[in-house]
Symmetry: D2
Subunit: 266 residues, 4 copies
């Protein structure tokens, strides 16, 4: 790997940008880089709970390869998530995911998947109306995580195939508060939280480093093949759950502080 | 609309955040806000072409409601995009889209859709390795556009259902350059451009303001119904194409300037 | 002036940087540029008073050329400042300043001076401990105003000639609060406000554009002389007073909002 | 010191802001905090020299207490600065400064002073025309250093007492370049470098922590006296020289990179 670019890894682009790269561990392209994010996210969660006691961030795996879990975002708990090593609250599917991951490892291959995250207890009013929309900052935060390929909030890509009359979230009064009957908005309207659960999903590609032989080129420009050695996760999803939660908490904390600064009346 | 919150619009969240809102035109929640972005994007494109003559940004509609177009991102041209009012380069599907939009308008309803964007002529090396990954900045830029619900780059959400051995883009030498045989990475690896076309997609929800009667509440907290009046686009997709191109150009221009600043040798 | 660089103006540096310049009015190098700052400062003052009712920003001219005024920063009022056209609360010296400015104008010359600013009602705790020290942000704000050459807070340059035992502000208890007996710190210690008046001074050079003949060169690189025509202030000090107040209010408002965001207990 | 606020130190303001402080070493209020700045400044200098081989940053002590050195900023060298422990290139005055510092130490007192810095080899065009003027960023950088009370560039506060006809720097042609005969501008006009030496001065107050007895109060609000123990510099000036150079290099490096990004023609 010292001489050869791993396909779909950052080897080639780092070389192109910097003329130097850390081939042993991936350097900043390794998911190890996220340790600082997870640590900071723990602090952000404490700040958020201090500001907003009902605040809660819960992420979980909803898909590994072709295995999709059934999870109700309105009721899922952290205990359910941590109930198994793949961090999928649907225990039956979690079993199958673990088997699929083991099989992929034995075949020298890797698997993609999806993580969903629900943020509860966010009051109406967090987020900015133009560039720093809450969903925009969440999208950037998630796409800054290694191996991510997509982000969607609420209805997400499914909204593309809907009519306004079926997509719109009707308002109603509930316990004296303005609430929505459905939550296709995913808790955000016009870039600003509306008091409903914030629900988003992140797509992860299969790990780039696999031990199967792949076609590639060397740094010297010669075509070759590569079969990676060393310990490489065949599926990053279970370990990416805390990263997603951490980045979400950091984004929310920033917006909570901005909103707090803004409210002159209190 | 002065007293009543439009479902899934920014009416309620603006009221919650600011205690005041522009109900006549949506204010900053109106897509009119993007005029400045489109103007700035035109300047950004000029800067990009000055720095990188091969640079080209082309966005186009690939889906309206249940109508999906067939477009080859490697060959599509701006002329094809501008060949019809819905800005969909698949002429046959474009016809059906126009009919669907007309029907939605006559029914007082609206339609969602998808825009794809291809950025050509970007050299390897643009983008930052950690927080300001190229895809992260593109994701934020796109989710900052009104009515967007999702972003994906390259393989996107489809990557979730793949194995590493089928997802990885094998490297090869072509005309003396390191190139990939496939482009599931969407032109970005490890946050940094790899010299292939950058290809991403943005999901738009159906317009929130529709003339069909909807359940909602008033600013005073009374349940009511609302049927919007006034001129409202039943489908924002065709008019969102230049917004997507503009925001993409602004993101790329920022990264081109950063990269230019960095290269000490030239 | 279209062909010729005014000595000590931005003509040459703009030409060097941009290859183009607005010679008719100075463009962004004209003090007219500060109109937006003054408008924003008016809003910032309103926010500050809403957050901190005792807040008050008062700037005034303390020196024009060789005429130094006697002003007590602890008692000076806005009414005293606005009591004469040079905005110097020492009425006797103000008279002499006006005469000096008239004389300079008649001689085709210009005069420098000093503005002092006192910010009252700032509670302990505003400012950041490292890079964004309150005095650092004030210094940047003031040196971003046209024609400024220096900034000092509290004892300022005079501190250079002092011993710690004479410079240090002894603490004492006053009305149940920790207060300082003297205020050589100028209201800031370690980058953070200590509850005393914030007092700083800004040095302004004499206006660069004068009608006396000066040696200079043309854009084509030929040596020549220039005697400027048109209406040019022989002394910017009186008109710079609101600029100083506005920039100070903007800096303080930013720090007030940051501090407000931070205080979890309230 | 655990219970008692040192006069003119950050003890009280940190307590007011954070409710906690590091009384043993000052924490972020200690000049030890600047180690990271000096390290980063060393990298910035390397980048600057790579971009602009003639670049050179030289800072030196020009005043300690009442002892003012005679230094010619146009010829001073780093070797002269490092020629004695107080980093003052005027050897005779340096001797007296060392004696004065020793005496202050033996008396349990401390001394203020001035550092001057000259930046050579900066081409015309660095700096921004409005808020990020080169002198504004330098002022912020310097006032962010511990114990600083003032900043001035070129003529500085002396400009306040001048007439335009004596202050303006006449232009002339020298070796085919537009140059100024004098350098009261200090190398910056309208926020942008003009190719002359950038020369600025920074005022430092005497160290706050002294072993002489001072009046102060405890964290509990009781009046008391304090005589500090421990090793405390009686004069920070000699050790602040590399801090000033480092911060100057960081500011210049940022502006060099911005300018490099901007120049489309090269």
């Amino acid at each position: 790997m010292e001489q050869t670019f791993r396909p779909s890894h950052a080897d080639f682009t780092y070389e192109a940008k910097y003329g130097i790269r850390n081939w042993q561990g991936g350097g900043r392209a390794s998911a190890r880089e996220t340790i600082g994010r997870v640590a900071a996210g723990a602090v952000a969660k404490k700040v958020l709970v201090a500001l907003q006691p009902a605040f809660e961030a819960t992420a979980y795996v909803t898909q590994v390869y072709d295995l999709a879990a059934t999870v109700d975002s309105t009721t899922v708990t952290g205990a359910q998530v941590e109930g198994n090593p793949v961090r999928c609250p649907d225990a039956a599917t979690a079993e199958k995911m673990m088997e699929a991951i083991k099989r992929a490892r034995s075949e020298g291959d890797s698997l993609g998947g999806v993580i969903e995250c629900v943020l509860r207890g966010v009051p109406p009013g967090w987020g900015e109306p133009v560039f720093d929309k809450l969903e925009a900052d969440l999208a950037k935060a998630m796409l800054s995580l290694p191996a991510t390929k997509g982000f969607e909030i609420g209805s997400g890509f499914a909204a593309s195939g809907m009519r306004g009359s079926e997509h719109n979230d009707a308002f109603e009064m509930r316990e004296g508060k303005v609430r929505t009957k459905t939550n296709r908005s995913g808790g955000v309207q016009g870039g600003i939280s509306n008091g409903e659960d914030i629900v988003f999903r992140v797509a992860f590609k299969p790990t780039a480093t696999i031990s199967r032989e792949q076609q590639t080129v060397t740094a010297a420009g010669e075509e070759t093949t590569l079969a990676a050695r060393g310990r490489h996760d065949p599926c990053v999803l279970p370990r990416a759950v805390p990263m997603v939660e951490a980045m979400a908490a950091l984004v929310l904390c920033d917006h909570a502080l901005r909103q707090r600064a803004l409210r002159l009346e209190s």
